[in-house]
Symmetry: C2
């Protein structure tokens, strides 16, 4: 752990440590949350935040660093239901990575053998990802039993329990803890999304980012900088910006601009050409398939919204047509 | 600053300090951002993150703490335009607090006198808020001139400048820096929102949170727990949950439930009664005015969306009516 000193004097009395995990803050607040939110078992408390570990060996990009962003859920359940909730969370967390667009074949569950379980864990499974340097841990899901609440209660001298209205008794909940690294997830998403292929006769680099994760949802590209086309395209850009992070790019050839958006994982490019001035339609180009459709400007927003939400590119709005396969 | 040691040995060679502000990371990345984003002056880089200061006196709730969340923008401008951009950001930042619902009379601008300016600042203004303990700083906006880029360039031996295409020369941009505390803003929002008044003949505590900041946007409250009404209300709840953070509460009297939502600043309560089963309408109650309107369930989502976006409560959807003034 990282040791530091509170206050001006560096002596033993002022020694404190940076937290090596976010979980303990949740246990300390368990009773507070219980009293203010009127939750019944099972319920969870989730937190994301910085943790610090004085690791000797860091590296593999941002896989292991001394300061990292952690996200943890402490899910409190009735003893006896812990095995079932442990399985629920393993499944749920695997699905979460898949829902971010990470390929299922790059994810693997690694249940811990009895002899490698930490002293507090009744059961534990890691979710591993196939990084370029090999399989490595993204997340650990542990059944911690009543270890944490019993420990905190013993140290503080203040009981931590839950009153079960039905059974009319105080119980100490068991805890299922999914504990994941935000930076590792970010690295996995990038590794998984990175691709090189060929488009329009040249090599292209692209990120197959899930639309939810792409920082830029769409780019508006006018075919020319000519005044009347530019102001027309700027209007479309201003309209889309109300709803999403959108870029406007009019520098260099249209091919170069597509490549730039491919590289940063922008799912859709909206091309505005001279015909757009006449027919009030624009072309939407999809990053992965390179297919293009032409749609009326008035249905551009709803079409993009549907496509960003995962609908197939070829559900055309009224008045739209396939432009380029 | 907080001093700590990297690695297993605690000697002078391993001493590091926790960052006391987020700004320096932006200056270090200035050239990187410039080279990858093709931005032209003026442009800004914004960052939020933890900072740590070994304060001797902490307190006034979360006003001053040793670990805090900071948000800073470094806005790079052409020398000579800095005064104008400084004024722009002072105005823009004041408006930002007002847009969060903070009362304008509780905000005050305090320009620094020449003799109190920090050595790096050409001009500086604080945005102060009238906390319960008196006027105190929420944010400082400084015109830092070229101090930071020149300092970083001198220390690293690597020039940090911007090539101006028009003037065909390298220039060192001036920097306007709005630097604000997230925790202080949070405290100001809470102080400003807290209120006590009377409703339905009893004292109530409420938070006048701006809808954008209210953690729960609406609560669905069935008038009774009877099966057919409950399942009907649950359907409405499930539908609203798709779009917003919504609570479902069926415990105790409707008055108690309104009070609970008032206390946490929920802008709207949706009451489902036995008549709702017949006329397919529900009642929306507004937190601040206590006024109620009755609207068809099919236009509930669009009505809430419009009201959450700030439209007047009494723009009724088709088929809606005023229920209670």
């Amino acid at each position: 752990m990282f040791k530091t000193f509170i206050g001006p004097v560096e002596d033993e009395a002022s020694v404190v440590y940076l937290r090596p995990e976010t979980a303990q803050g949740i246990f300390v607040n368990f009773e507070n949350v219980l009293n203010t939110t009127r939750k019944r078992l099972p319920f969870g408390i989730a937190q994301t935040g910085k943790s610090f570990r004085n690791e000797v060996t860091t590296g593999n990009f941002i896989f292991r660093s001394r300061e990292f962003e952690q996200m943890e859920i402490e899910y409190f359940v009735k003893p006896g239901t812990d095995k079932q909730w442990f399985e629920y969370w393993v499944e749920e967390r695997l699905n979460w990575y898949a829902s971010l667009g990470i390929k299922r074949e790059n994810l693997k569950l690694r249940p811990h053998a009895k002899e490698e379980l930490a002293h507090y864990a009744r059961e534990c499974s890691d979710i591993n990802y196939l990084f370029p340097m090999g399989w490595a841990e993204l997340e650990g899901i542990a059944n911690r039993g009543d270890f944490d609440l019993v420990q905190h209660a013993a140290s503080s001298g203040k009981g931590l329990s839950y009153y079960d209205e039905e059974a009319k008794e105080h119980i100490v909940p068991y805890i299922i803890e999914p504990s994941a690294g935000v930076d590792r997830t970010f690295l996995a998403v990038l590794c998984d999304a990175y691709d090189e292929d060929e488009a329009e006769g040249e090599k292209r680099v692209l990120l197959h980012l899930h639309p939810d994760l792409a920082p830029i949802k769409a780019a508006v590209l006018p075919l020319s900088r000519k005044e009347h086309l530019a102001s027309f395209a700027q209007e479309i850009y201003a309209d889309l910006r109300q709803q999403w992070m959108v870029q406007y790019d009019d520098a260099q050839s249209i091919g170069r601009r597509y490549r730039r958006q491919d590289e940063i994982g922008t799912p859709f490019c909206v091309t505005v050409d001279f015909e757009s001035l006449e027919d009030k339609q624009v072309t939407i180009r999809e990053r992965d398939s390179l297919r293009q459709i032409r749609v009326p400007i008035e249905s551009l927003k709803s079409t993009l919204a549907a496509k960003l939400a995962g609908e197939d590119l070829f559900v055309l709005p009224e008045g739209g047509k396939i432009w380029k396969e």
